[in-house]
């Protein structure tokens, strides 16, 4: 029996800054919302809403996903992370780029500030994509589907950000012979279906069965999911660019939906064949996230046939604050405590009693966060559908409370200090 290289966890410096910064950006986002809740009722292409969307998409979701991906790529690909230095570069570039971009959108400084911010983010995306490629490419064959999802997501990210940068340039120096809003629609869906969806699928099909102690042998449905999601996206982009105002986008939406259902079928199979019956709060967060995603699909025909912009805002909220946020809120406490624990207690394991990873954060606060999140999200969605300003005000305050609880708990893990002697841990 040969000794097999079990691999090394990536350096924590390549991972932890992303978690901390993402939690801060979520807090900033909810602060924006609480200060100006009525911005949610204006057209989505307005300075403040653009600043919000990019805080959510880049500062919160992409920041967190970069960090989680650097930690999980070695697990998924059974290969050490290619470069910690590149990971750090992507962190510095993304953080700087997002800060510049948010300020530019908030004040609508088109021109150099927006272009510089976009350029930093493009460089960050390139660093990330190169790191993913170098780590995932040597994967063994049995992980082909996971590998394809991760690589295709990284490629779509680079394309999304490139188009975003071109749009920023186009705002100041118009050169694209197309309606700007139609291009924004393509840019947004490129990011949602290409980057977020495919990355989440690639990671979740490994992690969710692992957390549930479940398994599924239906790998073929993942290949179907990969083809359907990419086919739907490519057709949507090509047709959407050539013939901007057509209703065929619904057909492409159905293709992507079928790809999502195939992914859901795989996860449901793993869920059925799980050994761990008890579902904890972080996993409940993850399951609810799928509901928000499906609700967003149901809104697609409404957006096609109704002219009110509130449906577009609702769609964005379902995806960013519903689907992606619920998923990240849940996954944070399934990954972050383990990373910090590994750094602090690895050498002490077996020598003395050490705390378990779940003792590094407050489980009670995760429960509080869970209920606050659901109430805040439900009230926000209701407030937008019925244009109830007082409800928007109330819900955004709850969002701020929720993100404060989350930020506190993340900081508690990041700055973990032993509060009692090691031999007292049980």
């Amino acid at each position: 029996m040969a000794d097999i290289n079990i691999g090394k966890a990536p350096a924590t410096i390549a991972v932890l800054p992303f978690y901390g910064t993402a939690a801060v950006f979520l807090w900033i986002l909810t602060l924006f919302m609480a200060i100006e809740p009525y911005d949610l009722l204006v057209h989505y292409f307005s300075p403040h809403l653009l600043a919000w969307v990019h805080t959510a998409a880049l500062g919160w979701a992409t920041m967190m996903i970069f960090g989680a991906a650097y930690q999980l790529l070695p697990v998924i690909c059974e290969q050490d992370l290619y470069s910690t230095r590149l990971a750090l570069w992507s962190y510095g570039l993304l953080t700087t780029g997002v800060c510049i971009l948010i300020f530019s959108f908030w004040n609508f400084w088109t021109g150099m500030p927006m272009i510089i911010g976009g350029s930093f983010i493009l460089l960050a995306a390139c660093c990330y994509a190169f790191n993913v490629w170098q780590t995932a490419a040597p994967c063994s064959d049995k992980y082909t589907v996971n590998k394809c999802f991760l690589i295709s997501a990284a490629c779509w990210l680079v394309l999304t950000v490139s188009i975003g940068l071109l749009l920023a340039i186009n705002l100041r120096y118009p050169f694209i012979p197309r309606n700007h809003l139609e291009l924004v629609k393509l840019h947004a869906h490129l990011g949602l279906v290409g980057w977020f969806l495919q990355l989440i699928v690639g990671v979740s099909v490994k992690l969710i069965p692992m957390f549930l102690l479940g398994k599924s042998n239906k790998n073929y449905v993942l290949r179907i999911a990969l083809v359907l999601q990419n086919m739907g996206l490519i057709l949507f982009l090509v047709d959407g660019y050539l013939v901007p105002t057509n209703k065929r986008s619904l057909i492409y939406g159905v293709l992507v939906l079928l790809g999502v259902l195939a992914w859901g079928y795989y996860l449901a199979d793993a869920f059925r064949n799980r050994a761990r019956k008890k579902i904890d709060i972080p996993m409940k967060h993850v399951f609810f996230s799928f509901g928000y995603l499906l609700a967003a699909f149901l809104l697609l025909p409404v957006m096609e046939f109704r002219t009110e912009t509130k449906w577009v805002t609702l769609y964005g909220i379902l995806l960013f604050l519903g689907w992606i946020t619920a998923l990240i809120l849940g996954k944070t406490f399934k990954t972050l405590p383990f990373i910090v624990w590994n750094k602090r207690y690895k050498k002490l394991n077996g020598k003395v009693k050490v705390p378990l990873p779940k003792q590094l954060y407050s489980e009670q606060l995760v429960t509080v966060q869970y209920y606050l999140y659901h109430v805040a999200c439900s009230l926000l969605l209701t407030g937008i559908v019925f244009t109830m300003t007082w409800l928007l005000q109330l819900s955004t305050i709850l969002w701020l409370l929720m993100s404060t609880v989350y930020l506190y708990n993340v900081a508690k893990v990041l700055f973990h200090k032993q509060t009692k002697p090691l031999w007292n841990y049980k």
Partner: protein
């Protein structure tokens, strides 16, 4: 009991029960991660074991734990750990005590 190394193996088994898989919160003996402990000569211990997930980031911590507990009770022996993927670990390898701690459905 006829095994001349029975007592050493029992001591090793008890010591390894102090190594917890941090992800599952259960010791590696009850999880069935340890396949074999061998004493091939007077100054060595060989542990053949597996991990619940290949390339698990916590794998190093578990290996470290195994080395720590065995070095503590067998200070004059060198600990060698072989991480193997055959046979593949599965839920059936978890002991009844481990299943109870994990809240798994009974066998």
């Amino acid at each position: 009991m006829s095994d001349p190394l029975f007592h050493e193996k029992m001591k090793a088994q008890i010591a390894l029960s102090d190594v917890i898989d941090p992800e599952l919160g259960v010791n590696i003996i009850d999880l069935g991660l340890v396949y074999e402990v061998d004493f091939p000569n007077v100054d060595q211990i060989i542990v053949n074991m597996t991990l619940s997930t290949p390339h698990c980031p916590l794998g190093e911590a578990i290996k470290e734990g195994v080395t720590n507990v065995l070095t503590a009770i067998f200070p004059y022996r060198n600990v060698k750990i072989n991480v193997v993927w055959e046979p593949i670990w599965n839920f059936d390898m978890i002991s009844d005590a481990g299943r109870e701690q994990l809240g798994l459905s009974p066998r």
